[in-house]
């Protein structure tokens, strides 16, 4: 048997009851080549300090709970492997651009509010009764939005976005991608309502096309594309109102 390898994991700790500010702590974690960074954190919790707090659930990049900054890059810790960092030290921190609740757990309430605000459900174009049957959609219409349904709300894109850091009110990549998902759905008629928010001061124009959100997205949703397409849509709405009766007023 080969010698047990050990890696240093530096964790940004913050216990609201006792700490004035976040502080770093280093743990020496024995690991095997199949261990993820999440398993490293679990090892620390089981063997060194049971108070270490972090979110996780599925361990297979589906639930979106275990996002953290790993050496400064937002990643899902369950699909990031310790072996790729060895022999260097791994630094894990709570996701950037969010208030820290405890250790690696961030306060997501602002994000949840943004998700609710974009009305992430189908607002039917024409309400149908059960007797009228289902809403028909062609494969081509389905293809228009399918990519944007893959979001798992891991919020890595918020941690990647400097504009979210500068303006926490910015609706941000994931919520705008989800708004776009419903706007693009042929069954939906809620675009006008959602565009009001997307075109507002907290909307798409906060984005300066850094593009890092799409780079870090573990599900290839490409939220940056959704944001930028809606800059065009918002601009169209703005100019087309000069051509519409009553200047587009309701």
């Amino acid at each position: 048997m080969s010698e047990q390898k050990v890696i240093e994991i530096e964790v940004l700790r913050y216990l609201p009851e006792s700490d004035q500010a976040p502080r770093s702590e280093v743990y020496k974690v024995p690991f095997t080549d199949d261990m993820s960074v999440l398993q490293g954190a679990q090892y620390i919790k089981d063997h060194f300090d049971g108070s270490l707090t972090f979110r996780w659930s599925c361990r297979m990049a589906i639930c979106g709970s275990c996002g953290m900054m790993i050496n400064g890059i937002p990643k899902l810790s369950c699909e990031t492997f310790i072996r790729d960092y060895y022999p260097n030290r791994i630094t894990i921190e709570a996701l950037a651009n969010f208030p820290i609740e405890k250790d690696l757990v961030v306060d997501l309430s602002g994000f949840i509010e943004k998700l609710e605000a974009i009305q992430p459900y189908i607002i039917p174009k024409e309400p149908r009764t059960v007797e009228q049957g289902e809403y028909i959609q062609t494969p081509a219409q389905f293809a228009e939005y399918i990519q944007f349904t893959s979001c798992i709300n891991c919020t890595l894109c918020y941690a990647a976005c400097p504009q979210v850091g500068l303006n926490p009110e910015f609706i941000g990549p994931a919520a705008i991608a989800l708004a776009h998902r419903y706007n693009m759905d042929s069954r939906d008629g809620g675009q006008a309502q959602r565009m009001e928010l997307l075109a507002s001061e907290d909307g798409v124009y906060n984005c300066s096309a850094v593009g890092y959100c799409s780079e870090v997205c573990p599900k290839h949703v490409d939220p940056g594309n959704a944001v930028n397409i809606n800059k065009i849509n918002a601009a169209k709405d703005y100019f087309l109102r000069f051509l519409s009766p009553k200047g587009g007023a309701k």
């Binding site: 890059i73 400097p162 850091g165 500068l166 300066s208 850094v210 594309n225 930028n228």
Partner: protein
Amino acid sequence: MDGWWKKNPFYVEYMVHEATALFVAAYAIVLLVGLVRLGQGLEAWTGWLEAMKSPLSIVFHLALLVAIAYHALTWFKLFPLTMPPIVVNGKRVEPNVVVSTGWTAAIIASLALLGIVWRIAA
């Protein structure tokens, strides 16, 4: 958020891309000054032409060329991010195809322009 862009090579590329836009503006100003001098008569125009030939101006233009080339290169890289998807024959065009088409078009346009200027100068 102070110094946020230094923390990640991706942000550094973004900032350099944004900063090189100033070089594009600088070159536009150089050309505009040329246009103004042309309007002021032959003497002013030849003065501007002479100034363009000075070693300092040549070094400045080489720096502009490098910065603007970098800006163009990274600008096309942003195409797939900023554009609505392009669908050809029911299939979405791959992002790398969009980027390389942009680069190819820019290179061909530059070479064509260079050829035209070359012929006029000759």
